[in-house]
Amino acid sequence: MPKLMRQSIKLLTLMTLALLLVLAMACGAPAASTENAAVPAATEPQALPAATTVQQQAAQETGTSQQPSQATAASEQPAASTTELEQASASATDDVERPTLTAGVIWLDSPLDPVEGAWAASQGGMAENLFRLSAADLSPEPWLATEAVQIDPMTWQIELRSGVRFHNRAVMDADAVKASLERTIRLSPGTGERLAIASMEVKDSHTVVINTTDARPTLPGLLTTSQTAIVDAAAADAAGEDNFLSAGALTGPYIPTEYIHKERLSSVANDDYWGGKPPLAGIENIAIPDTNSRELALQAGDIDFAINISPEGVERFDTVPDLHSRTAGAGTSVVMWWVNFERGTLSDPLVRQAVSHAIDRESIAGLVAPAGTGSFADLLLPEAMASCPGVAGPEYDPQRAGELLAQAGYIDTDGDGYVDKDGQALEIVIGGYPQRFQLPIMAEAAQAMLGEAGIRAEVQITEWSVVKEPTWDLFGWYNNVVDAGDPVLNVSKFVGLHADASDSGANNYGHYSNPELVGIIAQAGDVSDIQQRKQIACEALAVVAEESALLPVAHAYMMYGVNERVSGFEPHPHRLYMFDDRIGLSE
């Protein structure tokens, strides 16, 4: 063999060997972590807490004209009942080596500290709040609290669960809860404004009294958001912003041990957990942003659990042995369009209504959220949040759309199939962003339907922050609509108001404004009865629907793919709650 050929082969062989050597060395060590901490030592299990209730008492002794009704936050048992907790604990014996669950999640790009609005710690079973939303009806129920009593419209007394320790072994008592909420107010001004806490008083080691600056009938609900998760404030502050993990400042059944942003979040079981020893040794959350990759990783057996799977994935998993799709069967997020009231095109009520009648929203819902993965959203809020008989959104009626366009002066004068007025074609821009697969599909379907009605539509799928620019007429949006379990709050935030109708402009991307709506929302003021609040929300939704102020399309379910080894997983309709002390993995 000629010399050059021999040299080439030798060189390539050496390169291959060198490469394999480098790979073996490099892959043996994980990438540098951004947050690391020693795992607190496992200690003896804590006694289970007593059964809990939330009660809200009438403020009969306050002298105020408005009397909050009883049991706004209905009495509920925690989702994990005592019996279930005992079973979970029993399954986690010391003699059997517990498995670790590997979960494929979408993003791991936010900080771990819940006060920064991040969900990772809550979803991962690491952080807990005083209250959480019930899986059954999304009302607030006790979690680290055992009871909430409204003493008067501006005073709440909260009883705390005993036997709760932070991951660093410090006891969670009334002082710790007070410090945690003070930290939330300090570091998350928006949350502080919403809570409106004037002062907090430690009545005894398990009782905190909260005074608000004005009536806060939904305070337990407001304490379910991730920013209000209970942390060991002193430890977290001492550790510093970039080292939250090392503080051991959370209380959940799993203790974070390593967090590499956008890569993985590892945890180990908190054997000191107030609910008992968790069935798993730990949970490994892996960021797999690509939906197809996440689904294929589950199919390949590389992960046990995949979050946010596609409708196609649901169909596939339900026909593949060993895999299942799981959902709570209730949509807590809405897929919708903002309607731009400031751009001109849709500020004409006739044109706006014509557009809303020209789009078959129910058919589009069937495309983006087929049966089993979501439902048609005629109104903004899902049934679980507010059922509004007699209130309906704009119906699909192309003929009516044509009539409305003609009334507005738009007719097809040049025979090109599109209406025009004064020589100007009616053209609307449909915006959206690609990260939610529903939005491009919605935009293209609407474009075709509007074209049938003689309205020229241009699709511009760019990214979400474009919603704040005056370049679109309809803008696709995906958002949670069950915040704090309060229907009034969730209608309000989409029309630029707080639940008390103050501060117009927040999150009102369509620039919609209606004094009638402000008046309706203002009625909620200090109303604590949930049925009354639902009624007020329905009145507001009727106005929103009549004016086509928003165009809801679908309520999307949280969809999970799991392999058959996963046990004890009960999907919750809200994205904040994913792993708890019940989830396990059989051998």
Binding site: P2, M5, A31, A32, S188, A287, N292, A297, S465, V466
Partner: protein
């Protein structure tokens, strides 16, 4: 050679200024206000206060004219400061450094694989033109050039991870996890190199000095490997440098699909999050790498080919 090297090195800063300048302008033309993006990241779910937005624009230096912003960025970049990520608030240079090793591993594996297949297949294909080996090689080259890397990546995962369970579907941490992404990434440069080497070998085998070698009675193997190969491989040296650019751009897709924590995945995440400092830093960093590798390839070509070396220096 020294003069050539100095000339090439002197053009590098100008090229980098051009690339980073275009990138800087394009990013600033993109819709969306970085100040609002930062505030949204830091206060998720909360309404934006116009005063806070204005203050953040000042804090980020976005209130200055674009040329001033660019000059400021360049002066900091020269000192190794590429700014801070809007999302993680970490230094961009640190993020790029941390992601470099995984991408370097993946591209090195893909490039080695491409060379290991492309060089022998290209030579064999040329020597046995029209044979079944040639047909297979051309087919591989055609598929490699035509198939999008994402389709190939998903196909590999379905076959080797889902159906056969031979290899993991994603991840970074073991030698087995590099196999599928390296194959997916290597196919395009492999196809390009194979076609180039085949064409170059065929051209070389038809030249006068080869005919002379044959006339002297040398065996066909000696003619091919002893006389033709060196000249035939020369274009591949330059093309290998160019391939690195393809590999790095392909890595953006492949790393996302295989959840490989490299520069490509960082770039995709940064682009989607409108994390402009990271995108700008990434573009500049990749430009430096590609320009340097191409320079090395050109130097290697001159070392291997005396005609280029002497020709240039004689000018």
């Amino acid at each position: 050679m020294a003069a050539y090297l100095i000339r090439r090195l002197a053009t590098l800063p100008l090229l980098l200024l051009g690339i980073s300048g275009v990138s800087f302008v394009l990013l600033n033309l993109a819709p969306g206000d970085p100040a609002e993006i930062v505030l949204r990241q830091r206060n998720p779910g909360q309404a934006l206060n116009p005063t806070a937005v204005t203050a953040m624009r000042t804090e980020l230096g976005l209130d200055a004219p674009l040329p001033v912003q660019y000059v400021r960025w360049v002066s900091q970049a020269i000192a190794g400061n590429l700014g801070r990520s809007y999302v993680t608030e970490q230094p961009v240079a640190r993020q790029l450094a941390r992601r470099t090793v995984p991408t370097a591993l993946l591209t090195a594996a893909a490039l080695t694989l491409a060379l290991l297949v492309a060089v022998p297949m290209g030579i064999l294909s040329a020597r046995q033109r029209g044979s079944p080996v040639d047909t297979v090689a051309r087919l591989v080259a055609l598929v490699g050039a035509a198939a999008p890397s994402y389709a190939l990546a998903y196909g590999l995962i379905i076959l080797f991870a889902v159906k056969l369970s031979w290899l993991p579907a994603f991840g970074y941490g073991s030698a087995a996890q590099v196999v599928l992404p390296a194959i997916a990434l290597s196919l395009a440069p492999m196809a390009q190199l194979m076609r180039l080497i085949r064409a170059s070998m065929l051209e070389t085998l038809g030249q006068d000095y080869i005919r002379t070698a044959r006339a002297k009675g040398l065996s066909e193997r000696t003619v091919a490997f002893g006389h033709a190969l060196r000249n035939a491989l020369l274009p591949a040296i330059g093309a290998t440098g160019v391939s690195l650019g393809y590999l790095l751009s392909g890595a953006v897709i492949v790393e996302t699909i295989f959840t490989w924590p490299g520069l490509g995945q960082l770039m995709v995440g940064a682009a989607l999050a409108r994390d402009y400092p990271v995108v700008q830093g990434f573009v500049t960093y990749i430009a430096v790498v590609v320009l340097l590798v191409n320079l090395i390839a050109d130097i290697a070509l001159r070392v291997a080919d005396p005609r280029l070396r002497f020709g240039r220096e004689g000018m």
